[in-house]
């Protein structure tokens, strides 16, 4: 399972790096110093900060959209794989509980 997860992760990383490279052409990477910390970052949504869109070229935005779609595909597969593993884990727990009478331990 670890190997498959790692493969999914590495594939996602490849697409994510490609998406990031294109994304950096579209978004201004540091729009406001005050929102740099992880805790304060969500406050950007309720702020009046003006975000610069650096690139509006249709070709670039569509390439970025395609990379995002690839990332989404990997996530979709990864989630499906996680759900399968969860089902197996739950079944195994149930079996161990029955075979070794573990309910109370």
């Amino acid at each position: 399972m670890n190997d498959r997860s790692t493969n999914q992760y590495e594939t996602f990383r490849q697409y994510q790096v490609s998406a990031k490279e294109v994304g950096q052409q579209i978004f201004d990477p540091v729009p406001g110093e005050e929102f740099l910390s992880r805790e304060r970052f969500p406050l950007i949504l309720s702020s009046h900060l003006s975000i610069n869109i650096l690139q509006t070229d249709k070709k670039i935005t569509y390439i970025y959209g395609a990379y995002l779609m690839d990332c989404r595909g990997i996530l979709f597969n990864y989630i499906r794989m996680l759900k399968q593993h969860k089902e197996r884990a739950v079944r195994l727990i149930e079996m161990l509980d029955i075979e070794y009478i573990l309910e109370k331990e």
Partner: protein, 142 residues
């Protein structure tokens, strides 16, 4: 006339009594030892199974978290894509741009990677620990 001849047994000497006593003692001890070993193996098997079950329970919680995180990420990427395709054709409001930037920074980063708990599996991998599991159906499932 039928004559019954009773075999004549000589009286046992002290050495023979001691030998019989020793044999009985050894037989009982061996039985006790075997039982003790069997109980010990069963105890180890049970401990291993409990550890494995705890790992699995912990993992299901971690998997749930990873599924939630990645599902949120997936939906955020969908939303960002929806906006991205509008950049070139329309003027987006500042609040939409802020939302796009937020999604770009917060959700296009790393995947919520699930790392399984390896305590029991590591033990099972070592030496002959796997042979402790006597139930075929369980060892097959593991």
């Amino acid at each position: 006339m039928e004559v019954h001849h009773h075999p004549h047994f000589g009286e046992k000497n002290i050495k023979e009594y001691l030998l019989e006593g020793l044999m009985i003692f050894l037989a009982v001890s061996m039985g006790f030892l075997a039982e003790n070993i069997r109980e010990n193996i069963q105890k180890h098997e049970r401990e291993l199974i409990i550890l494995l079950r705890n790992d699995l329970k912990f993992d299901t919680t971690k998997i749930n978290d990873a599924i939630d995180f990645n599902a949120r990420k997936m939906y955020s990427i969908d939303t960002l894509r929806k906006y991205i395709y509008r950049i070139s054709s329309e003027k987006l409001s500042d609040s939409v741009k802020r939302k796009m930037f937020y999604l770009y920074k917060a959700y296009t980063g790393n995947v919520g990677f699930f790392i399984p708990t390896m305590r029991a599996i590591t033990l099972l991998d070592k030496g002959d620990a796997f042979t402790l599991i006597k139930k075929q159906v369980v060892s097959d499932s593991i």
